[in-house]
């Protein structure tokens, strides 16, 4: 006993003094936004996640003239990698699921408003009408390894690429044995595993009126993708009128749905990214109906007057605000 006790004492001393392990972290610009990665693991895994994001940016960027997607948009056809073909098919499938409210072919409209290079302008009605004839997934033809676009049509993965990147990063990290990570890709957050201290992840939802502050808090455990689409993100003011970047593919204009933001929680980052855009365009009532129909995600809606609505599956995780529960 006397021989063991000093060892026990030393062990207790070390355990009690052991601080929670610090994550490896990095911040960098990619996909036209700020990427913040925290990985509880070695630096190699962090670097692998960073490289995965940069690889996908080179693949999916519509503004980088050297990307595979830009090549497709310029030429009208391209033999794409199986990965990009699959992502294109996912985008088309999800567009169909949202009845075309999420539409990856809005790029001609996005360019007309000047969002890709911040050369903002308000297009005339006739110009939008002409461009709308190029919009719609019926203009995209996917075969086994080739994508063909009708004349004037162009793809934009801005509403899906960050979600897909988050999804891919978690897969890369898992393959490298990482069990805990927190990825903030612009407005998207992806959690992986359980926090080292065992506490729930605590994620704030940005206040549309003051985006640096949280208006509500989501606390949950496990791996989840969270994506917010909001009218306060990427917008410009002309002649006293504010124009945001989430375009309604039916009108070609910034969506006016009465929502200031919508946050989607889902197991799949790609789906979360698409749904947040689609739900923002749908608005509260149609968005709630979409949730009742599919039930493969949860959502927090914030209306322009600041009212908060949450689907019943995530109501238990929501705190710090008054809200109305959306029931099945």
């Amino acid at each position: 006993m006397k021989k063991i006790l000093p060892i026990v004492l030393l062990g207790l001393l070390l355990l009690s003094g052991c601080a929670e392990s610090a994550p490896c972290q990095t911040e960098f610009f990619a996909m036209d936004t700020l990427m913040e990665l925290k990985v509880w693991g070695d630096a190699t895994a962090l670097e692998a996640a960073r490289e995965e994001i940069l690889r996908l940016e080179a693949l999916c960027s519509a503004t980088d003239a050297g990307s595979a997607l830009s090549h497709l948009n310029q030429e009208g056809y391209a033999a794409l990698s199986p990965e990009l073909c699959a992502l294109t098919e996912d985008a088309l499938r999800l567009s169909d699921k949202t009845c075309g409210i999420f539409d990856p072919t809005v790029y001609p409209l996005v360019c007309a408003w000047g969002f890709p290079d911040d050369s903002f302008r308000v297009p005339q009605k006739q110009e939008l009408s002409a461009l709308l004839s190029y919009v719609g997934t019926q203009h995209v033809h996917v075969t086994d390894a080739e994508v063909v676009l009708d004349e004037g049509t162009a793809l934009d993965f801005g509403g899906i690429a960050k979600g897909y990147a988050a999804q891919r990063c978690t897969e890369v990290l898992r393959e490298m044995g990482v069990t805990t990570a927190l990825l903030a890709l612009g407005g998207n957050v992806q959690t992986l595993g359980t926090k080292p201290d065992g506490n729930p992840w605590v994620i704030g939802i940005a206040d549309p009126a003051a985006p640096s502050q949280a208006i509500a808090t989501l606390s949950f455990t496990g791996s989840r993708a969270l994506v917010t689409s909001g009218s306060y993100q990427r917008c410009f003011v002309q002649d006293g009128q504010r124009y945001h970047h989430i375009l309604d593919p039916k009108t070609g204009r910034p969506a006016e749905s009465g929502l200031a933001s919508v946050t989607v929680l889902c197991d799949n980052g790609t789906v979360a990214d698409v749904y947040s855009t689609a739900l923002f365009v749908m608005g509260l009532e149609d968005g709630a109906e979409f949730w009742r129909q599919w039930r493969d995600f949860e959502a927090v809606f914030i209306t322009e007057d600041g009212s908060i609505y949450a689907t019943s599956g995530c109501a238990q995780w929501l705190s710090g605000c008054e809200f109305t529960e959306i029931r099945p």
Binding site: L12, L13, L15, F29, S212, A214, T263
Partner: protein
Amino acid sequence: MTNQRWILLICAFALLCSGATLLLHDAAAPAKTACIYSDGIKVMELELGNDAQYRITWKEHWNQIRVEDGKIRVAAASCQSQDCVNHGSANCGAPIVCLPNRLVITFSSDDGYDAIVG
């Protein structure tokens, strides 16, 4: 010493060590500061208690930064979107980002959130 006394001693020692760790952790908690990054490089770390203003330039782009009343904001910027200016004053929460000018302002204070989505 009897076994009971040894157990008591071990427990007391462990409690002492845990308390000391907590105290040291609190003592090491940073004051409210902000870090300014330009094109991925940390160019400045600021105490938000001291009012000041700075101009950060990157290539031909610039951001005018103001610290006042314990908060920091981008007062003016050369970018088209003005998202960084519209972000307003902050001392915690989501970083202030100016994408065209490759400027990021982060906060060291712990606001209790692991991240802010939005």
